[in-house]
Symmetry: C2
Subunit: 231 residues, 2 copies
């Protein structure tokens, strides 16, 4: 199944973007009267028929609409982008596939990267949403300071940090059907000040499991655990 993305359908758009039009008409060789599936990324799937198979502006008529409810829980992950951006891009693709509502890119004291290309990252999000056939597009942010992330609202707030004595595990600390915000530090870990600052702001220190994980593996594992406890 090829799913197309057109966020403007709720505002009356009946055509695909130039990029999506090209994909439908040039790559997939779709023609007038062929049917396609589209999402607006805002909770709806549309089954539609192509009325004008134009490779620059492929027009369609909606045959029927299916609404998908928001999940009863909400996962927000705040992560420091990795020095090698490929690792962050992998995390992003996988997190979207398995399910995530929001990703905050976070600038920490020990961050090794202070710049991200949000347009490029958004393309990865869109592609993964289409690939995994989802109707809600996750939100991603520009790089924002650690202190600003601390002000974000959530019902359960966690900061991942390895402590040796009796770790508090994310999968037992997190409750079902909640809105979670989990902070994942950079390669050099959070600074002691950041940990303290998070605690003052009611973030609970948690561990993800017994192994030492890379930043992007930790971020994905947090996402997997929160999806898992809600299965």
């Amino acid at each position: 199944m090829n799913l197309f993305y057109q966020p403007e359908i709720p505002r009356g758009a009946n055509f695909l973007s130039p990029e999506e039009s090209r994909h439908a008409v040039k790559v997939l060789r779709m023609k007038n009267l062929d049917t396609i599936d589209i999402t607006d990324g805002q909770g709806s799937f549309y089954h539609a028929q192509i009325t004008e198979a134009n490779a620059a502006k492929c027009e369609f008529e909606i045959l029927n609409t299916k609404s998908v409810a928001r999940r009863p829980f909400e996962i927000s992950i705040a992560v420091a982008p990795t020095k090698n951006i490929d690792r962050t891009e992998w995390f992003l693709e996988k997190a979207v596939e398995i399910g995530v509502e929001r990703i905050y890119f976070m600038d920490c004291q020990n961050s090794e990267r202070h710049h991200i290309n949000q347009d490029r990252l958004m393309k990865i999000v869109i592609s993964a949403m289409k690939q995994s056939v989802q109707a809600w597009i996750p939100e991603i942010t520009e790089l924002i300071p650690f202190k600003e992330v601390l002000k974000k609202k959530a019902q359960q707030k966690f900061i991942c940090h390895a402590t040796n004595e009796h770790p508090n595990m994310l999968h037992t600390a997190a409750q079902k059907n909640s809105h979670y915000l989990v902070l994942i530090g950079p390669e050099g870990d959070f600074s002691p000040e950041e940990i303290k600052d998070a605690q003052v702001n009611n973030f609970e220190i948690v561990s993800l499991g017994p192994n030492r994980l890379r930043t992007e593996t930790a971020a994905l594992t947090a996402c997997q655990i929160l999806n898992f406890i809600n299965l």
Copy 2:
């Protein structure tokens, strides 16, 4: 912490491989009397002191040894390598980080890749084992036919396959402290014959969750779920 790998310690080796020697002496600039940590990948960590900081053959003396027991469960994942091998390599790195005992590379009817470079994949396994500070090295195989994988022994055998009606979920079907074998199909999915063949061989059809996942995401998610139920 930099962990080195020397599988020959149980057979008396008191030196690092040329590659590891170069890393210790040239890159990390370690000198005589510096201490290092080594694993043999067979359940032991060694704390050792460098006696000859030679960049081609770095010799050491073991100060103390710590044994790590095998986990009380065992995860074997059989996966069809992806067309784009980067995706398989990424899965391999992440699976080793979070914990896996064995990966069978499997040749299926719809496989898009019929060749793997086992040496290259083994390097990824070693690097991820060291990175995540583990004392047991996971096993990986050459590419083996689907029918041979069906003969592999395990206490609980699963094949991941999307079915719409009331899916049997891996996280409820799998019991704690068992030896699991999970089959993950290629991009074009298993053929109907393969599914039937697996069922005849007592593999249970399972689903990993609500979303459609890429091959490598499904393989990693299976691994995460099995680690998770044993936390």
